[in-house]
Amino acid sequence: MLNVGSIEQGFVLDHIKAGKAMTIYHDLRLDQLDCCVAMIMNARSSKMGRKDIIKVECPVDQLDLNIVGFIDPNITINVIEHGEIVEKKALGLPKEVRNVIKCKNPRCITSIEQGLDQIFILTDPEHAVYRCKYCEEKYHGHRRD
C-alpha cells in the first residue's frame, strides 16, 4: 500500500466510500485552506473492500466537521495532536447545511435568485429530515450520491 507520512496536528477522515474523497474535499472547502492535504483513494479495507482516506494538517479548530455527519455518517474522524490520536469524533447531524445540496423545488426562489446560499435546516433530527430554509421543501436523510 502507498505510504503517506503521519501528521503532527489535524484530522484523518477514514472509511470514506471509495471514490468520494474529492467530493468531500470540496464540501469541506479544503481547497480554501492554506494547509497540507493528502488524499488516498481506493485503498484496501477489510471492512469496506475499498475506501478513501483524507489527511488534513491544520490547527484542529480551523475546520467545521459537522457537515461530514450529513454527507456520510459512516466516515470516522480522528483528531491528531502532537502526532497522536487525541479524539475520535462522534458524528451528529448538523443543524444547518449550507451550499452542499441544492433545493429541487423548481418553484423555490433559490432557482432564480443570484448569489443566494442554498441553506437547509434540520427540522426532524430523529428522521434526519432537512427542509429548505426558503420554501420548506423536504430533503430526506444523509447525502448518498
Binding site: N105, R107, C108, I109, T110, S111, I112, E113, Q114, G115, L116, C132, K133, Y134, C135, E136, K138
Partner: protein, 314 residues
Amino acid sequence: MHRQLKNLRHVMSPLDLSVEELDHIMELAADMEKNPAKYAHVCDGLKLATLFYEPSTRTRLSFETAMLNMGGNVIGFHSGSTSSATKGESVADTIRVVSCFADICAMRHPKEGAPMVAAAKSSIPVINAGDGGHQHPTQTLADLMTIRQTKGRLDHLTVGICGDLKFGRTVHSLISALVRYPGIRFVLISPEELKLPSYVKEEHLDPHHTEYKEVIRLEDALPDLDILYMTRVQKERFFNEDDYIRMKDFYILNEEKMKLAPKDMYVLHPLPRVNEISVDVDDDPRAAYFKQVYWGMYMRMALMFTLLELEVKE
C-alpha cells in the same frame, strides 16, 4: 428616510405571530373597525410599498386600502413585468432600493421563499403577501378574524375543511394556526385524491393531539360543523377526467345542502370562488366569505400598525 423601529420584524408565516400577539392584533382590528376616525391619521407621512411580482386583486387592494385608511400612502408595482425584475434585478437588490423609499412592504412573488430573501436584506418590515404555493399569512389572519367575529371565539370549534386539502396553501396555514387553540376538531372533507397530506398531519395535528376525521361526503359532515371552510377543486389536480366529473358536483355547496347545516354554522372561502359555492348561498346569513375580505383588510391594518410600532394619540 424610513421610520426607525425598535424591533424590526417580518411576517413570513402565520406562526411568526404567537397566539397572544394574534389576539392583540384581532382586538386592534375590531377596534379599528369600530373607531375608524381614531386611526385615520396614524400613518400620516408613512408609505407602504406593494411589491407584487404577480397579479392579485383582493390582497393588493386590501393592503393598499388598509394603508390609505390609516392616512398613509402607497407605492409599488403590480406585476413582475413592470418592475426591474425584467432587467434581471434580484429580490435582494430590489428590497434594498425600496427600503430607501418606503416604511413597510408587502410582497407577493411566484417563487416560494422570495419574501424571506427580501426580509434578510430589508431595513423595513416585510409582510409575505403570498409566495407561490407556500405561505399566505394575511389570508390566515383574515380567516381567523372572521371565525372569531362570527362565532365569538377561536377555541372549542368543529371546523370542516372541504375540497382540495392536498395542494391548498390556505388550508395548511389555517390548520397550523388553529391547532394552537384548545378544543379544535377538524372534519376533513375531500376525495381520496385530494386528502390532507400526511406531513401536515404529522407536523401540525399529531403534536397538538388534535382530533380529526376524514370523510368523503359533504352532506355527512354538515350537521356537526361550527365552521365550513370551502376550497376550490381544480380539474388539473385529477389523474383522469372521470374522477373529476364524478367529484366536481360533490363539493358544490348550495342552499339545499345548507339546510343540513346548523343555523350558526358559517361558511368561509379564501376566494376566488368558481362554482363550488352556488350563488344562491350568498344571501344566506351564514355566508361569511365576503366578510372574510372585509375583516382581512382590518387585519392588515392592525398588522401594519403593530409592525410599525405605532401608537394612537389620544
